[in-house]
């Protein structure tokens, strides 16, 4: 019981450290992250942090993995929430959730997709599974829309150009994904458009040109999904 209480306190402090880390990044950018800065925020001495994380790099890795998972959670929730709708409309909702999470947590987004902290490289084993989670949500809805005939591929998006086709086939084979090359290709293309809009918004380059970024984003998602051949679309 006492031991358990200890573990709880321990976990609570680790949480406090991570929260302080996020707060620092929110205030000063991803490079504002520092052991000493965190210590100041939660009123501990810097060495105390080392009881919870072996180094600043390890802490960063943990934060990155958590961010990917938080994004994946948001997408899965969006998908589940609209489970009464058609796959295409659910996919649309998922793209909205992608942006929403990103602009609500701009520094978390920057940490995982923006320029890396100098000298730091995230270990793939800590991040890849979480990245895959985010991708799977969208791909499976795309696949479903394709299967049900809700999405009827339209040129120029009905053909997968080489060598992307070959590479995607390879990825599908390697990992045993139960999906068509076209589903993955269309999702990838959509994914690039999503990130263009989000990057530009998070780095503040688009607001000036389009007025309301939320509405603009919805319009672009609608346009692209329509151009790809999605029918019966809200």
């Amino acid at each position: 019981m006492a031991r358990k209480r200890n573990e709880e306190l321990n976990a609570a402090t680790a949480e406090a450290i991570k929260n302080a880390a996020r707060q620092l990044m929110a205030e000063e950018g991803t490079n504002g992250l520092s052991i000493r800065g965190i210590a100041k925020v939660i009123d501990l001495t810097p060495p105390a942090i080392y009881h919870y994380f072996a180094s600043l790099d390890e802490l960063t890795t943990v934060l990155i993995a958590e961010n990917f998972n938080a994004l994946a959670d948001a997408l899965e929730q969006a998908s589940a929430k609209s489970s009464a709708k058609t796959a295409g409309n659910r996919l649309f909702d998922v793209t909205l959730a992608y942006r929403q999470w990103s602009v609500e947590n701009p520094l978390d987004f920057q940490l995982i997709y923006g320029n890396p902290i100098p000298g730091y490289v995230a270990p793939p084993e800590a991040t890849v599974p979480a990245v895959v989670r985010t991708f799977v949500v969208a791909v499976s809805l795309m696949e479903e829309a394709l299967h049900t005939g809700e999405l009827v591929p339209v040129a120029p998006y009905s053909d997968v150009p080489e060598p992307a086709r070959a590479r995607i086939q390879e990825l599908i084979d390697e990992n045993g994904y139960p999906i068509a090359v076209l589903s993955m290709y269309l999702t990838l293309v959509l994914w690039t458009q999503i990130h263009g809009l989000i990057y530009l918004e998070v780095f503040n380059h688009i607001q000036h040109n389009v007025g309301d970024t939320d509405v603009f984003y919805r319009a672009q998602m609608t346009s692209m999904l329509t151009a790809m051949g999605l029918k019966t679309f809200t």
Copy 2:
């Protein structure tokens, strides 16, 4: 003559400082930029730098402005080089030049479009004119393609959604741009897709999925321009 020689040496040193700055960023990321680091590279003492730039921020501002202009130069050259082609094909060439400059100068791209150096905000008067230059190249080709009937707007890209339409009209009126709202809208949409692909490539998130990024980029530009209604397209 002697005075002139002095001025030349002076300008040469300023160039050396900027080159050292770019080299440092290339090696260690945009945050690797430092007065002391530059001094080390060109074998001067740190205070000597202050004869050429008033502060690190001023140097950064100069670099940003130069980068935007270098990008604009690259686009204008691409446009001029293919002046025998139709507007639509020239626009395609310009989009290729946009990516080419960005992936050849990834740190220069990151400096102007990536996450800001913490605590630094670029003064708009130093950057906006150069940004506009890059945009004008593409918009005017889009406008020409629309005028000649080479581009016949196709749904869903034939309508400009509100409030983007209102905002774009405002920008056109404020600045006296001699172009249609639709030209600017389509260019903006293309611009978001371009940046999605480039950001993901520069930050190393797309290579794994698509194989050859160059070919993939061309395919996406072709697809999007086609979806927008561009005809007779290489």
